[in-house]
Symmetry: C2
Subunit: 542 residues, 2 copies
């Protein structure tokens, strides 16, 4: 039985302060009130929690984008109250898991009981366990020296088929499906290696797959599990005086354990674990679960830009010497989420989505520049960069919390008067996840995946760079599912998007005419979500 | 009641490995067997554990220089067995706390029961709690602009009076006691600010005191508590293109919570908490309690060299921009303890005392150089640097585990063939804590504080730099207590040492003749241990 430690820490030494206790014994006090759960049900609830809840509430339930839902707090509510919230959701942004059909009535009842139990602490995962999970399926020297086909891998697309636990590779030129690959649970993103030869996938379960695009049929050539819960992966892109790191390393950003893991880029052999457990940027209080949000590879230096969500820190991690690891830890804002480069790839623009702000990091000077409000929960994805006729180079973000695109100046050298200031705003159909453009395009494509009004989340809106304030052209692109995420082809003249449901579709548009070129359907198209064009991903074109 | 989490993490996802569980429920399983302890006795045991045991076994009892003594392991032993070990000690190095009179029979019995209970996890300590403990007793602008006396503060000595919870300031010129100050529980070290104006003390309880030496009677002008358990403090010494940091910052190295804390050097206002929770340098497994051993300030750059004990990492922390904090994390060896500069102040020489090795860090190139064996548990303190007639510039260490001084080359530029190689060894009276020399001296002074043979720990031995292999001149310097630690005066022609017991003494020798100049006694001299001369501490002269 655990025990509240006595108070000598604060007074036996005649010291200076009254300490706030860690209430170790608090779990014991209300043991009688905790609803019974069988080991089997508890395990089931743990999985549902991981799948649906931990993203917002954290593995330890201490709260993040969602509130703290410790057993202490949850025991103050009735099971009926809890079940209602889980089933119906809240105005504050909690999804109604029962209402949307993602949980059954029995499951929402189970989860109500589960959250009245102390949060089980997931195990650690270190190098030994990772190595045990590591598989080289095709050794490096058994891989082809050049492509075994005459397709252009630079125009390949990697597609997530989320709920199928698969990923699809589609040829952007012929628009043919080349292969569907088992990638494990809920792949979150694809990243292409610096030469474009490999795709890396990271699953919600922390499993990394390395896909060789030189094979006639793209093939998983290595895999490894690096965490129990993950969201991000990126690669080393630097080639210069410090060495050639193209296709040399990959890095995984874990949610649990809170850590980064550096992998060999060719074999996925785990090489280095970097813990992110640390203190919040502002209040300097220890956080037990600072999760790694996005990771972006620098082109100019041997560095990854790593957004640490809960602490609000941005870490620039220099991968050129892992044994003498250089790092810059930049105080930014909470809670950091995703982001991408400005057009010059000097500044990283990151969303601090619980502070309704965008944060600007100067990766050349390796310091914080500024932060500014844009709207409720900015969510730029990688963002979008273009030249505004009046304000010069600008960047933009959508928002999770409101239907709004915010455009801000991002050219401090050429247009200092507009830099990091909001210059344009446009209301959209509803809260969205992504927007996208391309230097060759006149357009900005926007989804409204989270829009509440019937059908609005099935619409696509396109703004003109030359006349942004004139508003978008919008149309309904599907009569089922939700439209989510855009990606250009290599040439920048087509836009690909997903209809996200179990009978998913891929729609390809001509960027100039906004006409539909092709609509891909098929049994294999289960819950298509994100997609990445090799060339645009390698070169950070958005 | 805590619960073993179910195993979905490893198999519900069809993932790749069998995970080793964190046995959260282990505490519950054997609850019947745990001996009863009242809340009062438990608190008393916690304090004794902190005072006597945690240094070696760690706050979480997971082991460090001493073995893991978790409740699971301790429940496999009988209370009688445990009591015997605690009372009598072991050959492996565990002190016999009863035998030496430091614990009563009742206390050793209490501790035997205590270690069969789960280790209580001490609370965190963040900026808010630190600020609540922070006191400015004399504001900066109320302090004198120049010394209020005509003594030479550069030749002041700060003395620890360990068990009195006090510190003494002694004038090195007149050898008069100037002031005894309340410094709180078990001060571990004094450090002088870069100009020498201030002394900083750090207590085992994490309390920092700032002592102004300009006052006629040295005065505590500020205090703060930054951790619950601490060992190290240092100051910012850099003045150059990046700014003038003399007397500007201090940094505390905590044992618990495992963190560094940066303070304003003039007010002790806490500014930044840097967690050290991270992974081991070699196996890359997460360690929950990586304690900060020694911290050494660079003279050439705005950096602290921070030895992280359990992970075996050396962190170079650049304090010139706390909001955009640059750091180099260098893989070294376990368990890092203390150390100091070579004569050029480019290389830091650190003991990895559970690997019987010295580690060499190049602070100019910011990388690991090498590590090499010297003897059982090297313990150099700051070390000692001199010119050997045959091998050129050398450095040396004593050992905790055997009576041996090891001398090694430390001039890779001028004498690369001897650099970081053992060139001389000499057996001493017994295991010791410290050795010391000074550039103006022909001698090296050595204690044998841990010697077991009656009286050997009351002896002092002095070696000649010019004829080290001829062996030392030794003499018995006290008939009570133990001789511990040496410090030169500013001129480098006197050596000060302590007779460590409740009727403590300070002995001052002429370094040339080895004759006793003065022996200071007094009721105030309770357990004098370490001592620091302002000038030598500021300039790292050893």
């Amino acid at each position: 039985m655990s025990r509240i430690h006595s108070n000598w820490w604060s007074n036996a030494l005649g010291c200076l302060l009254l300490m706030a206790w860690v209430p170790l014994g608090a779990q014991v006090a209300s043991a009688e009130a905790v609803p019974q759960l069988s080991e089997e049900d508890f395990g089931k609830a743990e999985f549902i929690y991981f799948d649906r809840c931990s993203g917002c509430h954290g593995a330890l339930r201490k709260g993040a984008t969602g509130p703290n839902i410790s057993d202490e707090k949850m025991l103050k509510k009735t099971l009926i109250e809890l079940e209602e919230v889980i089933f119906d959701g809240t105005e504050a942004g909690m999804p109604g898991w029962g209402r949307t059909g993602e949980m059954t009535k029995a499951e929402t009842a189970l989860m109500a009981k589960f959250v009245q139990h102390p949060a089980p602490i997931p195990p650690e995962m270190g190098l030994k366990a990772m190595k045990e999970s590591h598989k080289i399926i095709v050794p490096v020297d058994a891989r082809p020296a050049k492509p075994q086909h005459d397709r252009d891998i630079q125009n390949y697309f990697g597609f997530i088929l989320r709920d199928a636990g698969k990923g699809a590779i589609i040829d952007g030129d012929s628009k043919e499906l080349i292969e569907v690959l088992d990638t494990g649970f809920a792949v979150h993103i694809f990243r292409a290696s610096a030469t474009g030869r490999y795709f890396y996938t990271i699953g919600r379960d922390g499993v990394v797959n390395l896909i060789d695009l030189y094979s006639d049929k793209p093939k998983v050539v290595a895999s490894v599990r690096t965490c129990l819960d993950a969201r991000s992966i990126d690669v080393s892109k630097y080639k210069g005086p410090k060495g050639d790191f193209e296709d040399s390393l990959a890095v995984v950003g874990c949610y649990w354990p809170p850590q980064m893991v550096v992998l060999d880029g060719q074999t996925l052999e785990p090489k280095k674990v970097i813990s992110t457990r640390s203190s919040t940027y502002d209040t300097n209080e220890y956080h037990p679960e600072p999760r790694v949000a996005t990771i972006v590879a620098s082109h100019a230096d041997s560095e990854w830009v790593v957004a640490i969500k809960e602490t609000g820190m941005v870490w620039l991690v220099d991968y050129s010497d892992l044994d003498n690891l250089k790092m810059t830890q930049i105080a930014a804002e909470r809670f950091l989420h995703d982001g991408g480069w400005d057009a010059t790839k000097r500044y990283l623009l990151l969303a601090a989505n619980m502070r309704d702000q965008m944060v600007v990091i100067d990766t050349k000077e390796k310091k914080f520049v500024t932060k500014f409000e844009t709207g409720i929960k900015p969510h730029p994805g990688r963002g979008a960069n273009w030249i505004d006729p009046e304000y010069g180079p600008v960047s933009a973000t959508t928002h999770l919390g409101e239907g709004k695109i915010t455009v801000f100046g991002s050219d401090p050298a050429g247009h200092p008067e507009h830099a990091w200031k909001v210059v344009r705003e446009q209301e959209t159909m509803g809260p969205g996840l992504f927007l996208k453009t391309h230097p060759e395009s006149d357009n900005i494509w926007v989804d409204s995946t989270l829009a509440k009004d019937e059908g609005d989340n099935q619409k696509i809106c396109v703004y003109k760079k030359a006349a942004f304030d004139d508003g978008p052209k919008c149309w309904k692109a599907a009569d089922h599912g939700k439209i989510v995420h855009f990606e250009y082809n290599k040439a920048g003249n087509e836009v690909w998007t997903s209809v996200w449901d179990r009978k998913g579709e891929i729609i390809i548009y001509d960027d100039k005419t906004l006409k539909e070129i092709k609509r891909i359907k098929g049994d294999w198209l289960v819950t298509p979500t994100g997609k990445w064009n090799v060339y645009n991903t390698v070169h950070d074109i958005y």
